[in-house]
Amino acid sequence: MKLDVKIGERIATVELIERSGEYITLSVDGRLMELDTRLVEPNIYSVIHDYQSHDVLIHDGRNFKEYFISAMLENFVVQIIDAEAKYQALRGKGFAGEDENAISAPMPGKVVKIMVKVGDELKAGDTVVIVSAMKMESEYKVKQDRKVVEILVNEGDTIEAHQPMVIVE
């Protein structure tokens, strides 16, 4: 089992070499690592690697192949790059299926205002929706010229993190 994994600009090949219960041997860009990993709490792994003890928190990212990781007082955004993602990248859409077609917020909140209607032609930087959470309002904009295809929420709705609100093309 082998996959490419991306952090920032770096893409590394990670390969599973042997797995015996919680004891795992793998390589990262050819560097062998022997890990003793235990899921001690939901989304928290205790990892012992070369006698070093690490508590690693992992959460789902903005899509199926993205993860947010905290370890050793550092934060990482990690993307898994499989065959599908590579195909997308070749077509110029970037890695890890970043779906720029759906406008969403990274946290739960309440839709305060929808600034567009279906069919609107938007200029880069136009605000699409305003979402409020914890006394702070955030504007969600399009980064390039787009057209509004579908609106999936109403003003006043409470939304989940990463829930698509507006589809543009």
């Binding site: 795992i24 939901p42 690490h54 508590d55 993860y67 050793m72 550092e74």
Partner: protein
């Protein structure tokens, strides 16, 4: 005699008040909105009363609902916490009319001290040092130059009717006085329809230092020393400590005396805070008074052993203050860090949601005033502060080391937090040296937000764990074998030998 207290608040401060109530043998009543039915303050209260929909304007800010709760459940007193109705003169008055003790000052005192202009006037009368300046209308450019020369540059020209930064001009050089006067006046006229301006001394990168005061209804007032609150982001305090690294015993004595004078000037009853701006030369100026318990009150409690909530309840109940000024001593050093559910790497965007588990640091010298438990969903409607982490240690450097230790063992699993940002503050040279003012976060922003210690090993580890977690999600995993450790070590090394051979080709 207060036997039941309604806490007109939520989150950590509601719990803080209930803890002291329980210790005093006083029953506590929680109020809650739709979003807060599962909140810890409801679980910990003796009684709970539903007061409306989730937005605070429909629940925690609705005086009628709070009063109804107090009446139905026969609470003797209402503790407002901070925020919400805590500095609302009308609410204080309403409680009085309903025969309920408001744990805080009278509406008159809130009125005088709540308004910055009237507070400034009152303080000048009482002989408290305020920012030098004039409030009289400035008629001519000549008057302006004359007054500014008296005050000394730099100054701030402020529109009397102003607000939100409009109609304000900072003047650093004499040659800019006339153009700035004109600019401020014209902006004031177009902005507020009134070109009245006044002039105040501009305090450069001030320290924000506040004094805790307590007054009782028998005419006694004391101060409980200072808190240094200069670590602020967009006027939001992030770290507070006491003693202030800037403070000297002489300055403390002088400022403390002024704080007590301020409290006595308004016959203050309850807990209050006198905020000062202090410059690097130890000049200090009254800024405002907060007529309530402050978020950062625990650092004061840690170095003095005083329970400020207990004192609040006692003086609200008509009892005299249990401490005289000379009874109080500062012992050791305390720092508070405010833990927010927010993402510092994404413009400090709030991060409400499900907390799957929470692991608190605990141990010696640690106090945690929070309200989040494993399985709790932080609502989207309220403040993102989820916990206050307070440390005490014999010395300031040991307190910083302790705070770093505590932050590194504090795990909130499920939402983003500012824990790493707080940890970086503890590592910033300016902070460690106690050499900082309100400009600290702006000055150190790059250091605080972008940790520059990216470590290849940790990155590899993150990649490995993401890979394994992804396989697990895809169902590509063996079940846990009950193989023993020794057996594993052997088989692992055998496989390793093979692989190493391969890689060496």
């Amino acid at each position: 005699m207060i036997k039941k207290v309604l806490v007109a608040n939520r989150g950590e401060i509601a719990i803080r008040v209930m803890r002291t109530c329980r210790e005093m043998g006083i029953a506590s009543v929680a109020v809650y909105s739709d979003a807060d039915r599962n909140s810890l303050h409801v679980r910990m209260a003796d009684e709970a009363y539903y007061i409306g929909a989730s937005p605070s304007a429909e629940s925690y800010l609705v005086m009628d609902k709070i009063i109804e709760a107090a009446k139905v459940l026969k609470a003797d007193a209402i503790h407002p916490g901070y925020g919400f109705l805590s500095e609302n003169a009308t609410f204080s008055d309403r409680c009085k009319k309903e025969g309920i003790i408001f744990i805080g000052p009278s509406s008159e005192v809130i009125g005088v001290m709540g308004d910055k202009i009237s507070a400034r006037k009152k303080m000048i009368e009482a002989g408290v040092s305020v920012v030098p300046g004039t409030k009289g209308k400035i008629e001519t450019d000549e008057d302006a130059i004359k007054i500014i020369k008296e005050i000394g540059l730099p100054v701030m020209i402020k529109a009397s009717a102003g607000g939100g930064g409009k109609g304000m001009r900072l003047v650093r050089e004499e040659k800019d006085i006339i153009s700035s006067m004109r600019g401020a006046k014209s902006e004031a006229l177009s902005g507020f329809g009134d070109d009245t301006v006044y002039i105040e001394k501009y305090v450069e990168n001030p320290h924000h230092i506040e004094f805790q005061v307590m007054g009782d209804s028998h005419g006694n007032a004391i101060h409980v020393f200072e808190r240094e609150c200069s670590v602020q982001r967009r006027h939001q305090k992030v770290i507070e400590e006491t003693p202030s690294p800037l403070m000297t015993p002489e300055l403390r004595a002088k400022m403390g005396e002024q704080a007590v004078m301020a409290a006595k000037a308004v016959n203050y009853v309850g807990a209050g805070t006198i905020e000062f701006l202090v410059d690097d030369n130890h000049n200090y100026y009254f800024l405002e008074m907060n007529t309530r318990l402050q978020v950062e009150h625990p650092v004061t409690e840690e170095v003095t052993g005083v329970d400020l909530v207990r004192l609040q309840i006692e003086v609200a109940d008509g009892k005299p203050l249990r401490y005289k000024q000379e009874d109080l001593k500062q012992f050791g050093h305390s720092i508070e860090a405010r833990v927010y559910a927010e993402d510092p790497n994404n413009n400090f965007m709030p991060s409400p949601g499900l907390v799957q588990s929470i692991l608190l640091p605990n141990g010696p010298g640690i106090r945690i005033d929070g309200y989040v438990y494993s399985g709790y969903t932080i609502p989207i409607y309220y403040d993102p502060m989820i916990s206050k982490l307070i440390v005490w240690a014999p010395t300031r450097l040991e307190a910083i080391a302790r705070m770093k230790r505590a932050l590194s063992f504090f795990k909130v699993n499920g939402v983003s937090t500012n824990l790493l940002f707080l940890e970086r503050i503890m590592e910033a040279d300016d902070f460690v040296q106690g050499n900082y003012n309100t400009n600290f976060i702006a000055k150190n922003e790059e250091f605080l937000i972008e940790p520059n210690k990216k470590n290849q090993n940790t990155e590899d580890l993150a990649m490995a764990v993401a890979f394994l977690h992804h396989l697990t999600k895809l169902g590509i995993t063996q079940t846990t074998s009950e193989e023993d450790h020794q057996g594993f070590v052997e088989s692992k090394w055998k496989a390793f030998g093979k692989r190493r051979g391969l890689y060496n080709i």
